[in-house]
């Protein structure tokens, strides 16, 4: 009887699809929805295409091993094992340098507690253009001094907090904060999971600049027991001065990783200053793109069309099939998808900087 019940629970789980298949005629673009970044629906044609791809892969890579199909190696650490895939890419991050970021940030007087729109205008008219100038002002000199000290200390965390509190999430000024970091302190990451929370992360991908190129480091679960090992590898990248860059990480990737860390009792936190490119992108590119899904931004701003991609919402199914059949072909598009997401993330981050510089 218990087997029967377990099966029923599983069937029920299967019926709760976390996405909707929309049968529109020809997959026309959705209109930009306010919250439409979390792909919760997929168009008929996209879905069909992905299912065909699944079949193809199952055929082509039947009886092949993981190592044969995906170049990488098994690694281990204190918490477990996982499969490690590395790539180098001929691109680099563009961002403000320290001087530039200081200049831009300090010309925003509203960052001083007590100064709003009106007062800023007045002060600027009076000749106080930057926070440095305010050090001369009898009323604001203390506050200004404190602010500049924080800046000098390059205490990214404190500064980040300060700005986060005063500015809307998507304010370009936050992006200029990136200037206080070294390029290789910036960790871009993106995860692939078995669903919307409560289930294992199956792939953690990181992109970091090393010398002049961006490297991607991907930690894959060959099987579910690899999860703690993969999480630990990820966490080992996080250092004192790390700042994280994600696409929608605030709602998804970061809480997800923290949840899984908590699940295994891995005493680590990834609470670091964080730049969520989605928020910046919405503000910067609104009106120029039909929506802010990563693939859309990629298509419109970077001219990239992915081929044989697995849509994000279908990753869980592909991975499930892999687990059932042990056919590594199913993993190829997942890894590729993640890698491409990381590259695009890096390029978008750089692009934003360009866009706001030019403005």
């Amino acid at each position: 009887m218990l087997d029967h019940i377990a099966k029923r629970l599983k069937d029920k789980a299967g019926r709760i699809r976390e996405y909707e298949v929309i049968e529109t005629g020809d997959g026309d673009m959705e209109m930009g929805r306010a919250g439409g970044f979390m792909p919760t629906h997929i168009y008929g044609p996209e879905y069909e295409h992905a299912m065909r791809l699944k079949e193809q892969l199952l055929q082509e890579y039947r009886d092949k091993s993981l190592e044969e199909v995906i170049p990488g190696e098994t690694i281990s650490n204190d918490r477990g094992t996982c499969y490690y895939i590395q790539h180098k890419h001929d691109i680099s991050i563009q961002k403000a340098d320290l001087e530039k970021s200081r200049q831009v940030i300090c010309s925003n007087l509203k960052l001083i507690y007590g100064i709003g729109e009106v007062r800023e205008r007045e002060l600027k008219q009076q000749g106080y253009h930057t926070i440095d100038d305010l050090v001369r002002h009898p009323r604001w000199r203390d506050e200004a001094g404190k602010f500049l000290d924080t800046f000098e200390s390059r205490n990214a965390g404190t500064l980040h907090d300060l700005l986060w509190r005063r500015l809307p999430r998507s304010d370009p000024l936050l992006l200029y904060l990136a200037g206080i970091y070294d390029k290789n302190d910036l960790i871009m990451f993106d995860i692939e999971t078995m669903g919307l929370f409560g289930r294992p992360i199956i792939l953690l991908g990181i992109a970091r600049q090393k010398r002049r190129r961006i490297n991607t480091y991907q930690y894959l679960l060959r099987d579910i027991p690899d999860e703690p090992g993969a999480l630990w590898e990820f966490v080992s990248h996080i250092e004192e001065n790390t700042a994280l860059i994600t696409f929608n990480g605030r709602s998804f990737d970061i809480p997800y990783v923290e949840e899984r860390l908590g699940f295994y009792g891995l005493n680590a936190s990834i609470e670091k200053p964080h730049f969520d490119v989605l928020h910046f992108a919405r503000r910067a590119f609104r009106g120029r793109v039909p929506d802010c899904r990563l693939v859309t931004l990629e298509r419109y701003l970077l001219g990239i069309e992915r081929k044989d991609d697995v849509p994000g919402v279908l990753v869980p199914e592909f991975y499930e099939t892999y687990l059932k059949t042990r056919n590594p072909g199913l993993l190829i598009p997942i890894i590729e998808h993640n890698r491409q997401d990381l590259i695009t993330l890096s390029r978008l981050f750089s692009r934003l900087y360009d866009v706001w510089e030019d403005a």
Binding site: L2, D3, A13, I224, L261
Partner: protein, 752 residues
Amino acid sequence: MPNRFFQNIKRQEWYEQQIEHIEEIPAREPRYGKLDRPLPDTLQGYLDREGIQLYSHQADAINSIRRGKNVIITTPTASGKTIAFNIPVFEALLKDEDATALYIYPTKALTNDQLHVLRTMERRMGIRPISNVYDGDTPQHARQGIRRASRIILSNPYGLHQYIPWHHKWKSFFQHLKFIIIDEAHMYRGVFGSNVAMLVRRILRICEYYGSNPQFILSSATIANPEEHSRKLTGRDFVVISNDGSIRERKFFIFWNPPFIDIGKMVRRSPHQETKNLFVFHIKNRLQTICFTVSRQMAELITRWSRDELGNVRDRITTYRAGYLPGERRDIERRLRVRELLGVVSTNALELGIDIGSLDAVIISGYPGTIISTWQQAGRAGRGYKDSLVTLIAFEDPLDQYFMKHPDEFFGRPHEYAIIDLENPYIVMGHLICASAELPVKEEDEKYFNLFEESLMALEQQDMVRKTPNGWIYSGIARPVDIVNLNNISDKIVTIINDGKILETMDLPKAYDEAHRGAVLLHQGETYLVEDLDLENLTARAIRRDVDYYTEPRRTVSIRIINTEAHQERGMGIDIDVGEVEVTEWYHSYVLKTYDRVIGKQPLGLPPLNFQTVGMWITIPGDIEEKVRERGLDFEGGIHAIEHAMIAMTPLYAMCDRWDVGGISSPMHADTQKPTIFIYDSYEGGIGISERIYDLFERLLNATLRLIQDCGCDKGCPSCIYSPKCGNENRPLNKEAAIFILREIIDNIRLD
């Protein structure tokens, strides 16, 4: 007041000996208690300023709680239970700056009420607010702050079910959790209760992980099994505090039975008429009264009829129903307080939290289903300083009539057992997968879950969990908290939709009963008509409609014994068994009825319902059958009648509806090869009712005999052996045979 009042009633033209019984509940002086050691000044000062002197049961509770015991307080409503737990909780939290407490309420409305109470206490004690509600209504931006800084969190089971997977966000709260308070604990029974019991275990597991071991304080209405219930709900042992020391005014409780209006003595006058007559009488005698009725429609009707007879006080009564805006409610509350309103007619679904205060009298139209609810409604009468009056008007229903004839059963020791089943595999496995997504499941977790090993194996087979060096972890494709619903068991859950919104959800078998096409559905006192039941998509569409009839489905049942779990041979070939059974129910039609007659019948084309559950059965030896036939009585009619009556009486012992169990009688059952009466749980996997009946079957048989024997009818009626659900049109039924058979069984069992 009382004697003159009763004499006046008896002089009314509509009085025809309806008063079956008047119970005088004497006034009682309060008994105060003493604490083992004094309270800190802040708390004692608070009590002094509020003029509160601790009653004996409050002092006992506080003493036990201070000693670290788990405590369940079962004194009646308005006996000051809230103080009994808030005081020791505050004491502990004031002493230990890090300590936290979790208060669980069954509904959001109650949570909000308790928050109000706590905040008032905080304010009057001059301490910083430390309590907050955290539930679906808590705005996103406030959540993090509440999680981090609140020391008392109030929530409900539905919310907690969703939040505990995020326990790492609650780390410091769980690390220092000192108390879990569960109020209205009697409400956690049946399917909901069994699910909440598992939820509590998941919470305890998380506490264990963070190193805390909270103490439980439960508050409950009076039930027959407080130790058992508290133990099953939490897994811990409890001290029971039940001796009420609070002050009590004198209360008169009238049992009112509408008179027979036909010669065959089978039909009684409409209780709605009786209700109206009594209500009008109360108002004319200037007794501020609340009247509880079975539906909003009835409430409106009674109000309207009453107005016709109230002359110049017609505007001083009103209906009250759920769904009023806060402003409208406050207006009614105010008008009651200043005695502008003399009477309120309400549905039974009166929100518990509403502040209408206490009135002079209560009229309860129709037994509310449990003794507990009856007392809760009765508790609305009584201002503490003068006599109060409660009248229970019986419907033509076995339990109603049983109490009318046997008031001692109502006023005596508590009978009702709150039932929780920790072994229903659907429920246990559902929460096991939830647990596996909260923390990896390890061997030690066996103490929280029955059927541990087997369940994990079965789940692993289906790839729902994976065994890893860290333990079993969840690997299924949907979030477990989305798969597991606290109000249901099965995976087949029907969603009832009204006007594009979800009205309620129910298990498929219940939907067959209550939400088939054409059914009249009662929800929070309002009636709805079900237009369609879509079995493929598991949805039903209902529209709001005021109708003056109700519907009852008719079904035939067949049952197969799968295995016997326990067996008793009670002499003379009478066997009582309990075990797993397979039930098939065919719903073939439904009838439309007004209060007293059938006005129509419609076919139902539903596929048979087939499920496995737990049931108990009694086999009756050939000797008894022979004796019955020798007397020229209808044996089949006799056992059929016994089956109906037993089911009707089951709620007296196992807190449930009569709809939570089903039954079938057979003069020759295929599996037993003997005459057999079956009673089974109408829930897949069973919910503990049949098992309880198996334990208590002698008492149930005796009560059943009393019911049938003492019923005033001649040959059987809806108040004893007629069942609204009978698929055979209540045929054959034989009252005399039933009495004879029951007497034979009872006598022979006693012989043993």
